[in-house]
Symmetry: C2
Subunit: 270 residues, 2 copies
């Protein structure tokens, strides 16, 4: 069985890009790194890198995640029996417009990671080269439903300043980020993924603030409590209580075994 003739197919480079989301100070934030080289030198971009010759796509994404954040990714096929502080990682979508990188043909397999609030990014120890940026700041107010920043994917080098100003993300990363945010927003409706934003033990109020930050809405604390504690498999009591949010002590919970919520959480109408 001979290998393909290399001239019979066009050469591609394959990369992984990461949309790493977390909730910090009641805002949905994503990890961005400063580009040190052309094109888009000095602009913020999603972390990512080349897939290695003998590396699976998910493994490449997990490697990039640990390099950028120190987070250990959960394998969705084999979640750990005890919730650790690892992150949820899943494939998001693949972006391969011929002109998305002016240097060469690059196909990027974007991945989505959800993580609890972390101390500070560690990108080579340089605090100026990586940060948690509120997604609202990067995408604007109308970041819902993939409507935001669609034009940014067209990026030609001559009009970089028009693509949302100097804070706009490099390449087509604004679109990738918008798609990742929309995926997270819809997925916490019908799955227990919102717990991936929480520490191993958390309160109902903390979980509610995750939903409020990701959806950008306010939820009734009483109905939320009734709903979330009444959904089988979503939460299991951890035993203790905490007052770290002030007020009356709140029970601590861990994520239950359920991955699909029935009934689902309902995102309020716009």
């Amino acid at each position: 069985m001979p290998p393909y003739d290399p001239s019979a197919y066009p050469p591609f480079a394959v990369t992984v890009d990461l949309v790493v989301l977390t909730v910090r100070r009641h805002a949905l934030c994503t990890l961005v790194v400063r580009r040190g080289e052309s094109p888009y030198q000095g602009r913020w971009a999603l972390p990512g890198g080349f897939v290695r010759a003998e590396e699976d796509l998910g493994a490449a994404a997990a490697r990039e995640l640990v390099e950028e954040t120190g987070l250990c990714a959960h394998d969705p096929a084999a979640p750990p029996p005890v919730p650790s502080n690892g992150a949820h990682l899943e494939q998001l979508a693949t972006y391969g417009a011929p002109d998305r990188d002016p240097r060469m043909r690059v196909v990027s397999v974007a991945h989505l990671a959800l993580a609890p609030d972390l101390p500070a990014p560690r990108a080579g120890g340089d605090a100026n080269s990586a940060r948690w940026a509120p997604v609202e700041e990067l995408l604007g107010e109308d970041a819902l439903a993939g409507r935001a920043e669609a034009a940014a994917a067209a990026g030609d080098a001559g009009s970089e300043e028009k693509e949302g100003g100097p804070e706009a993300l490099a390449f087509d990363h604004a679109r990738i980020l918008a798609d990742g945010v929309e995926r997270a927003r819809s997925k916490i409706e019908y799955s227990s993924l919102a717990t991936a934003f929480c520490p191993p033990e958390f309160t109902v109020g903390e979980l509610r603030r995750v939903y409020e930050a990701v959806w950008g809405v306010s939820l009734d604390p009483r109905n939320f409590h009734r709903k979330v504690t009444g959904t089988p498999g979503f939460l299991v009591p951890a035993g203790g209580t905490t007052t770290r949010q002030g007020g009356r002590p709140a029970q601590l919970f861990r994520a239950g075994g359920a991955t699909l919520l029935n009934p689902p959480m309902l995102r309020p109408e716009v």
Copy 2:
């Protein structure tokens, strides 16, 4: 701005594979083609091919779709004002395990297409080289939730007969198909995509049979009728009636403008 040094990154080939679904005789079917060359010679596989040098991923998928079926793909970003008999096409996921093709490193961007029932496949006019196969036949009964045929991705050439028998799909295509079927099953819950399986004008009963075939369940015709006609934007009356299903004449409808259903259709419990 110099291009990358080609030796600085591993070379990949990028392909698109298609999961084309339709409903035929009350069964969910997918298009498969017979492989004429090694590896997996003589086995059924999903249609697909290389992405060209200056071609976008979605364009490559649309090109393969028209080559295999003659179907014109709707651009999801700009659906036609009048429903034609084009197919719905969307990106599904990307598969890039290092050993998924024994000849070389191939990353495949799988796409999902939903189409109304078509006459017969036309793969070079050879009726023996392409067919509509019931997905149940290809994946077995437990094709839900991506559990089916996971082992098929491991495929080494020496044990082809163990991978579900001679009817098993080539490469990791059983997994791709299972993912596509699960995507379709969940997406018709909260979107109007089930109409993509119907001709331009269809009855409520025909739409119900689509749901029944895709989900593999029976639905109450009376509740279904009330639900589907009461969901705003889902259906618009086309004016006429038809008796092509026998019984009392049924009103004809066209797909309405809504893409997201509110409230969603509910898949019955298992």
